[in-house]
């Protein structure tokens, strides 16, 4: 099952990458505030010029 090893390795590498991203995001304080981000996207602040 040679390919299984390749695929498992690829999946692991991707998963580890996601893990690093998750740790970064948590450490970065991305999740400290779970109130304002979902509210902030509701406000459109653009000025339109045709």
């Amino acid at each position: 099952m040679g390919m299984f090893i390749v695929i498992a390795l690829c999946s692991l590498v991707i998963s580890l990458g996601f893990l690093v991203a998750f740790l970064w995001s948590a450490k970065n304080g991305q999740y400290d505030d779970s109130y304002s981000p979902p509210n902030r996207i509701l406000f459109d602040e653009t000025k339109t010029i045709n």
Partner: protein
């Protein structure tokens, strides 16, 4: 300008941190949002969506009325079905993803897209790829792997455009003015990274000519890689980017924040960690090792939780706002889309249970399952986005809310009319398939089962047609909307810069070079390293496993190899499997169950995923050559009631013997044990075997030149499964 909690933080606390500057981050920077690229992607979504669904309706009717294959090779089911799947997945949903990303990403990050030239390359590159697919697939230019049919030059183009997209997306993220990455962005990032890897690994192929290649993997290995890719294409192309889309457009349309932001984060991370391991559930009861099957099942069942996290979050966002749903067609579409997501992500784990999969695999149940997801989740989410986005970009109101509501009801009816007949057909055919007479004989012929499900195919095609009519209503409505408004090409906004990006006041161009290039380089070098590493790894792993485990399994003869390539070209795998599962009713119908060792020279594997026609794994030596000759010429002559189209051109076209040399060469490179220098002998052997088949046909009063493609096709069909077959009279030799 709305000042939120997060921004107040900047004004009140951050300036204290640096006293030697004139608080550059407090200064509002002006920037633009480009609407042209998302508008173009939206138009492409609509156009390709209509085309892809129209092809879907055609092939749905073909299954009920074979005359609609028109006897032309370019319009047969086997070639059009890949066109349909590629068009709706990569053209319709693909452009839908890009519409959502190019519209939402700058707004979520308070910045312009990083590079407008890259945006344009991305847009036109992707459309060119789609056009290339639309031309090559009907021509029979295909790699023969489901959902990854496109040939190697197009595969390379896809990789390049995907990298352009990634560089542009990460460039935008790195130059953002909003520190927090909204959950939708995480979904986009996860999708991009994983799709890149899946596409690269699954597309390893060895070119034989400009438009022909062989998958680098063979048999079980190829099946495993293909379904790892195939399942994750569903996961990371049809699901995660669309969850990102949902998390932006659903709250926007509802005018309220997502039900639980915390839940969205938890379900995002758990979803991407689990999804990638679920692929083997597509290969239950096949020749894949048992433990790999169980692994796939276990992860598939776990997937129910994060999937439903998304569904609950989407639906609960509308809690207490159902009055809005009554009036707003956009929200109507979203409610059904999210409900369909919930249904198909409940059904998915259930289908991964082996006992349920025994019923559903190869049947119309799978077709119903994917269409609940495709028509409901992807389709309706896309329609909702377009009904919301087009009026906004054209600075006007939707032309007709009534018409949009009509579209909603028509579309919903279409989905129901599509799915129910398919479920019904699946169960009826299952019970017929496994029915034995008291004396232990199979009660029904395969053709009896085909005849039973044909009426359901008609209903399904009508359901699909109704759904498509709804799309046309939308096209009319959106054109009217666009005409009534005037397009807002650019929107302006202002926001303070992130502190980190502006440590020193600087010329924006200068800093962009310093700040952004390393990340771009990193992205590119990661891709190069990944490809390089895989090029090293894959052959090493595969050389050993190419040693056949069954001594009697031999490589295909040159004629059989050519025949197999015709089989792939005609897309036979779209209706015929080559994998007999170890059930009494399958073994009794098709012959001994399939063994992993039988497929070691199959580049690519052709196990298939749907039995509209019978399994062919042991078709070899079952019928005389003349039967196959007549059957390919006019299927109903040998099998009354068959819905298979005739393949008349195989009797006119000559076998492409010029390619034999390079095909044998490529096969040997991948470990198929053709003797060194066999290339020069191959066509002699081919001619000899072809002549013997032609002679054989002559005995049955059929006169045909041994050079015709049908001869190669017969050679391949008569070979299939015979290496380890012992119990039948051999007609062909």
């Amino acid at each position: 300008m709305t000042v939120t909690h997060h921004q107040i933080e900047y004004y009140s606390t951050k300036p204290k941190l640096s006293t030697n500057q004139s608080h550059p981050y407090m200064e509002l920077q002006k920037f633009t949002y480009d609407n042209k690229i998302p508008r173009n992607f939206a138009i492409a979504t609509i156009v390709w969506g209509a085309v892809g669904m129209f092809v879907g309706v055609i092939i749905a009717f073909q299954l009920a009325f074979p005359a609609l294959n028109f006897g032309i090779q370019y319009t047969t089911f086997g070639r059009l079905r890949p066109l349909h799947t590629n068009a709706v997945i990569f053209a319709f949903v693909g452009n839908g993803i890009f519409t959502a990303v190019y519209y939402s990403l700058p707004r979520l990050l308070k910045t312009s897209m990083w590079n407008n030239t890259l945006s344009k390359i991305h847009f036109w590159g992707w459309q060119l790829i789609i056009v290339a697919a639309a031309i090559t697939l009907p021509l029979g230019i295909t790699g023969g792997k489901e959902y990854a049919e496109l040939e190697w030059p197009i595969d390379i183009a896809i990789t390049l455009v995907w990298v352009v997209f990634g560089v542009n997306m990460f460039g935008t993220i790195l130059t953002r003015r909003e520190r927090h990455l909204y959950v939708a962005i995480w979904f986009f990032i996860g999708s991009w990274v994983t799709v890149a890897m899946l596409h690269i690994v699954n597309s390893f192929e060895i070119p034989v000519s400009l438009w022909k290649s062989y998958s680098w993997y063979a048999g079980v290995q190829d099946a495993l890689v293909q379904w790892w890719y195939g399942h994750n294409a569903v996961a990371f192309f049809l699901t995660t980017p669309y969850l990102g889309l949902m998390y932006y457009f659903l709250p926007k349309a509802a005018g309220r924040p997502v039900y639980s932001y915390r839940l969205s984060i938890v379900h995002f991370w758990s979803l991407i960690f689990l999804y990638i391991w679920a692929g083997p559930h597509h290969l239950l009861y096949t020749a894949l090792p048992e433990w790999a099957q169980s692994l796939g099942t276990a992860f598939s069942i776990m997937l129910l939780l994060p999937s439903w996290g998304g569904m609950i979050n989407g639906l609960f966002t509308l809690r207490g706002a159902w009055d809005k749903v009554r009036e707003n067609p956009v929200l109507k579409f979203y409610v059904v889309a999210v409900t369909c997501y919930g249904m198909s992500t409940f059904e998915g784990p259930m289908l991964s249970l082996k006992n349920v999969n025994a019923i559903s695999h190869y049947s119309d149940w799978t077709v119903a399952h994917v269409h609940i997801g495709a028509l409901g989740w992807n389709g309706f989410l896309t329609f909702g986005m377009l009904y919301w986005l087009i009026p906004k970009m054209f600075n006007t109101k939707l032309y007709s809310i009534k018409l949009a509501a009509t579209h909603f009801w028509i579309g919903t009816l279409g989905i129901i009319l599509y799915a129910i007949p398919m479920y019904w057909a699946a169960f009826r055919s299952y019970f017929m398939m496994k029915a034995f007479t008291p004396s232990g004989q199979l009660q029904y012929q395969f053709i009896d089962i085909v005849q039973t499900v044909v009426p359901f195919y008609v209903l399904r095609a009508i359901g699909g047609t109704i759904y498509l009519l709804g799309v046309f209503l939308m096209v009319y409505n959106l054109i009217k909307t666009a005409k009534a408004g005037s397009f807002v090409a650019t929107e302006y906004n202002e926001a303070p810069a992130l502190e980190k990006v502006y440590k020193a006041p600087a010329n924006p161009f200068w800093h962009s070079v310093i700040e952004r290039k390393p990340m771009v380089m990193l992205t590119l070098s990661l891709i190069v390293v990944a490809i390089g590493g895989l090029v090293e790894m894959i052959p090493t792993f595969l050389v050993k496993s190419n040693v056949p485990t069954i001594a009697s399994v031999k490589p295909y003869t040159p004629l059989e190899l050519q025949g197999r390539d015709i089989y792939i070209r005609e897309g036979c795998y779209n209706c015929h499997s080559q994998m007999i599962r170890p059930f009494r009713y399958e073994v009794a119908r098709y012959g001994d169950y399939s063994k992993a060792g039988e497929f070691v020279y199959d580049h690519p594997f052709q196990w298939g995923s749907k039995r509209t026609g019978p399994d062919l794994a042991r078709i070899g030596a079952k019928y005389p050559d003349s039967w196959h000759f007549n059957h390919m010429l006019e299927p109903v002559s040998m099998s009354p009631g068959s819905i298979m189209p005739p393949y008349g051109w195989l009797f006119d076209q000559d076998i492409d013997i010029a390619s034999t040399n390079s095909k044998i060469h490529a096969m040997r490179k991948m470990g198929v044990p053709y003797a060194e220098g066999y290339e020069s002998e191959a066509n002699k052997d081919l001619a000899k075997q072809a002549q013997s088949i032609a002679d054989n046909l002559k005995k049955d009063k059929i006169v045909i030149s041994s050079k015709k493609e049908i001869i190669a096709m017969i050679a391949y069909l008569q070979r299939m499964g015979t290496d380890i077959k012992t119990d039948t009279t051999n007609y062909s030799k």
